[in-house]
Amino acid sequence: MAVSTAPRPAAPKPLPNMQRQDTWWIEPVLVVATLVLFIIYGTYRAFENNFYDTMRIVEAHGGLKNGVAFFGTYAPHYLSPFYSPPIQDWYESLFHSKMAVSPSLLLLAFPGSFRATCYFARRSYYRAFFWDPPACAVREIAQARRKNYTGEREFPFVLQNLHRYALYAIFVVVLFHWMHLVQALFFSDAEGKSHFGVGVGTLIVLVDTVLLSLYVFSCHSFRHLVGGVLNRFSSNKARFNVWMNVSALNARHGLYFWLSLITVGLADVYIRLVSTGAIRDLHIVF
């Protein structure tokens, strides 16, 4: 059998690795730092299972009369967003005992699943934690996975397609945030009577509630739900107008993601500090 003596073509040479020269690594570092800090603090608060409701502190001390001196004349009605909705109260009124696990551990599933499957959050954590890719046009470390990559087609990432269900659940959380904001406008005196007022905590809860609402109502799935699914907008002007407004909000969805994450943490920190007596809530009661 004749054997070809022609020289074998040389293997294509890989292109030189021209790395980006800018500071692309700042964003993933900030994302990791912020999210890790938030997860550690949130876990600690969930297991702490205390200092999340100012009225519980008053009740535990037998009312303002018996001396929760650090509240002053009026006790605020602040509930930490980590413990909202108040399922602990509901459970106690039904079964007259405390829940076996921290309610926060159960409640975090709602905002947790919404944020975990959020399209903007996916962009951030795929880059920062999975390095898939760490930044645009930056080489990935796990080159061995090249052909195994399946994106969001297989378990567990295929579950990202259920984002809309997490959206439906977060609507309930947003509703309770607004209810807690209304509660935060009332302050109890030593007799247990409620008085209308505004405190620093009220303003913090207001900012947290508004930003959470902006984050939820700028969601990509919500945008699809309200009108994005339509092909002929002129046939449904009402849905088109809603879609236009949600689209305007959607342009800043990422900003609302971060701001609402930070303010929900700050609201909890503030309520914990007030509940432990570390600081006194400044308020004007009418």
Partner: protein, 272 residues
Amino acid sequence: MEKITLRVFRGDNVSGGLVDYPVETFPGMVVLDAIHQIQAEQDSTLACRWNCKAAKCGSCSAEVDGKPALMCKTRVDQYPTGTIAVGPMRAFPHIKDLITDVSWNYRMSAKIPPLTPRPENEGKPFKLQQADVDRVQEFRKCIECFLCQDVCHVLREHDRKDAFFGPRQMVRIAALEMHPMDSLNRREQLKGEAGVGMCNITKCCTEVCPEHIHITDNAIIPLKERVADDYYDPIRGLLTKIGIIKRDTKAPLSSVPNDLTKIIVHEPRPVK
């Protein structure tokens, strides 16, 4: 006049490396100007694809300091170090110097059936309101520079050209899927061979798009949501079955006559 160094990739798909060229700058100079200066004064064999020099033809796509960009839209004064590295797009087979073979993109494009009006609308002028076309007009801005395809890590790093058409084709499918007059249901193709599920929303395509098309937010994510409607939402499926949600009346792609999708695409010529 200031002098900078342009570090340009020279070579073919077998061998090559970076070569330094001193270039004299002028106010408003872009990287393509510098390449032209090298061609005119130092080395006329430097190969680069270009046409309009106005960021409208999408020919001069390359990687400047490691980032996909149009050379005609990238000013040299953006790089204060005085040295700018210019190389070809990494996601496609390399031909020579700054030129790559982008024909794969056209082959994928050919797999997408074109706009298909309902038979009753065939040949008639479309009656559309501005609101109906505003959304898809954004997608028509695409100049097919393929920077989005180049930066997409699914194609670039994982080389999954077998499973994902890429952001450019997602934009094309979005323009058709959301078109009020199109009669085809493109979701089966999106979930299947087009592979919208391969995208993990890292938004790099949007970042590099010279036409500022919101590829991820306005094309890919809405397409993912439409696929979720049909394949990942059991409640919606149930509501559709019992008639609360209107059933989609678009025709499946399998119902398209064969000749509609039969588009001749020339295979790329072998590279010497």
